[in-house]
C-alpha cells in the first residue's frame, strides 16, 4: 500500500474522488450559469453566452435611454462633495474683480439689506451651481440671467471662490436667542422632511445646498414657495421640491424667520 503513489490516476480513490468533485462542479455551473438564468420569467437573453455572463455578474451600462425628455430646462451641473475645494489666491483675486458688478444687489462685502441673497461665506459649490443654472436657463431670474449669460465657467468658479473666501457677516436681524422651530430641528420624518441642517451646513452639507444663516426671510420664503409650487425646478432630481411641497405655509414662515436670525 505504502509504495503505491497516492496522487495517481491508477489509485482508484484518487481518480474517483477527483472525478466526482469535477462532475459536481460542472453540474452546478450548468445549473447556476445556464439553467437558472434561462428560467427567469422577465429577462430576455440574446444567447447562451449572454446568460452565462449575466449570471456571473459581468457589469454592463444601463443603456436604455429616457423615452420621455423634459419639457423644461433642468440643472446641468455635476455636483460632487469635493468640488471647488481649495481655491487659490489667483482665483479669489480674479473673483474679487469680477464681483464688483454684483455689489449693487449683493453688497460690497457680499452682504446687503436688499432681499437678495447674502453671498459672503457661501459655499463655493452653491454660488457656482446657481450661476450655471441662471446661464443655462434652469433657474429663472430677470436680474441674474443677463449677468450669468456673460460669464465663462472660469468666471463663475472665481466669483464663487471669492464669495466663499469672504467672512460671513451677521445680518441686522441677528437674534441667536430665538428658539429653533421643530420643523428646523427635527423636520417631519413621516412627511419626508429631514432636519434642514442635515444638508444646509448646520450639521452636514450636501453639495449644492446653501448656508442659510442670515439670509433674508423674504428670500427664503419666496424660494421655498417656488419649490413647493414647482415654479423653481433647478434642484437636481427634485431634492428640494420633495421637501418644500410637504411643508405647511406656517412651517415655511417659521423656518424663514429662524434662519434670518442666525449668524
Amino acid at each position: 500500500m505504502s509504495d503505491r503513489p497516492l496522487f495517481s490516476p491508477r489509485n482508484p480513490w484518487f481518480s474517483i474522488s477527483v472525478g466526482v468533485t469535477a462532475g459536481i462542479a460542472v453540474l452546478s455551473a450548468i445549473v447556476g450559469l445556464v439553467w437558472l438564468p434561462l428560467v427567469q420569467p422577465n429577462v430576455k437573453f440574446s444567447g447562451l453566452w449572454d446568460a452565462i455572463c449575466s449570471a456571473a455578474g459581468v457589469p454592463r451600462a444601463a443603456v436604455r435611454d429616457a423615452s420621455l425628455k423634459p419639457e423644461f430646462k433642468t440643472s446641468g451641473v455635476v455636483m460632487t462633495p469635493q468640488m471647488l475645494a481649495g481655491a487659490d489666491q489667483v482665483s479669489i483675486g480674479r473673483g474679487a474683480t469680477l464681483a464688483q458688478r454684483c455689489a449693487i444687489c449683493h453688497g460690497p462685502q457680499g452682504v446687503s439689506d436688499a432681499n437678495s441673497p447674502n453671498l459672503a461665506g457661501q459655499f463655493a459649490a452653491v454660488t457656482y451651481k446657481e450661476l450655471n443654472d441662471f446661464k443655462s436657463g434652469a433657474r429663472a431670474s430677470v436680474v441674474m440671467v443677463p449677468f450669468a449669460a456673460a460669464m465663462s465657467d472660469r468666471d463663475m468658479k472665481d466669483v464663487a471662490a471669492y464669495y466663499a473666501y469672504l467672512p460671513r457677516v451677521p445680518s441686522n436681524n441677528l437674534d441667536v436667542g430665538r428658539p429653533a422651530p421643530a420643523i428646523v430641528v427635527t423636520g417631519a420624518p413621516m412627511r419626508n422632511i429631514p432636519p434642514c441642517g442635515s444638508c444646509h451646513g448646520d450639521i452636514d452639507n450636501k453639495a449644492g445646498s446653501p448656508w442659510l444663516g442670515g439670509q433674508s426671510a423674504v428670500y427664503i420664503k419666496a424660494q421655498l414657495e417656488a419649490f413647493a409650487s414647482g415654479t423653481r425646478r433647478n434642484d437636481i432630481s427634485e431634492q428640494m421640491r420633495n421637501i418644500a411641497r410637504q411643508m405647511t405655509a406656517e412651517e415655511i414662515d417659521q423656518a424663514a424667520h429662524f434662519y434670518e436670525a442666525q449668524p
Binding site: 466526482v20 419626508n192 442635515s198 432630481s237 431634492q239 420633495n242
Partner: protein
Amino acid sequence: MATETDHGPGEAVAARIERRWATLSIVIVALLVGMAAVIGIHRATMPQARVETADPKTLHLSGEFIESNLGSAVEPDGSVTVRAIGQQYSFTPQCIVVPAETPITIRATSADVVHGFLIEGTNINTMLVPGYVSDLPVRFSAPGEHVMPCQEFCGIGHQGMWGKVKVVDRTAFLNMTAAKRRLTCAD
C-alpha cells in the same frame, strides 16, 4: 509484504467507512445545489439577473433616470415600469403610483450613497447602491397604501427619508395614463 495480509481486514473496514463519508458529503453538496436551484426557480429569493451600471453623478443629465422619465410608465405589453432614484434625503418620485394585479418592474438607483428600498407590507426590499441599477419584478395583489422608508443608514437626515406607494385599481391607473405618460402621486 507479509504485513499487508496482516492488515487485510482493517483495510477493508477503513475503505468502507471512507466510502460512506464520501457518499454523505456528496449528498450534502447535491442537496445544497438543489436548494439553490429550487429557491431560484420559485423566486423565494430574488437574485437580479443582470448587473447594470449607471453613473450616480450624471443621472440627471442623460439616460433613463432623468427627472422627466421618473415615475410609472405603461409598456407596450401592458406591464408597468417604475423608475425611481434615492438621494439624500428623499426618493423621487416621492410617491409612487402603481396598478394592482399587474406585472411591474421597478428600476431604481442612488444618486449619492447607499439607500434602502423597502415597501412595507410586501417582500420588496433591496438596496440602492450608487453606480448600480436595482431591477426587481413585483406584483401588488390589492389596492392600498404602503409606506416606503429608506432602511439603510444614509446620513444625518436618514430618518426623514420616507416615500409612499399608492396601489390603485388597474382601470383607474390606465385612466390616469391618458393625461400623462409618467405617473407619480407626489404633489
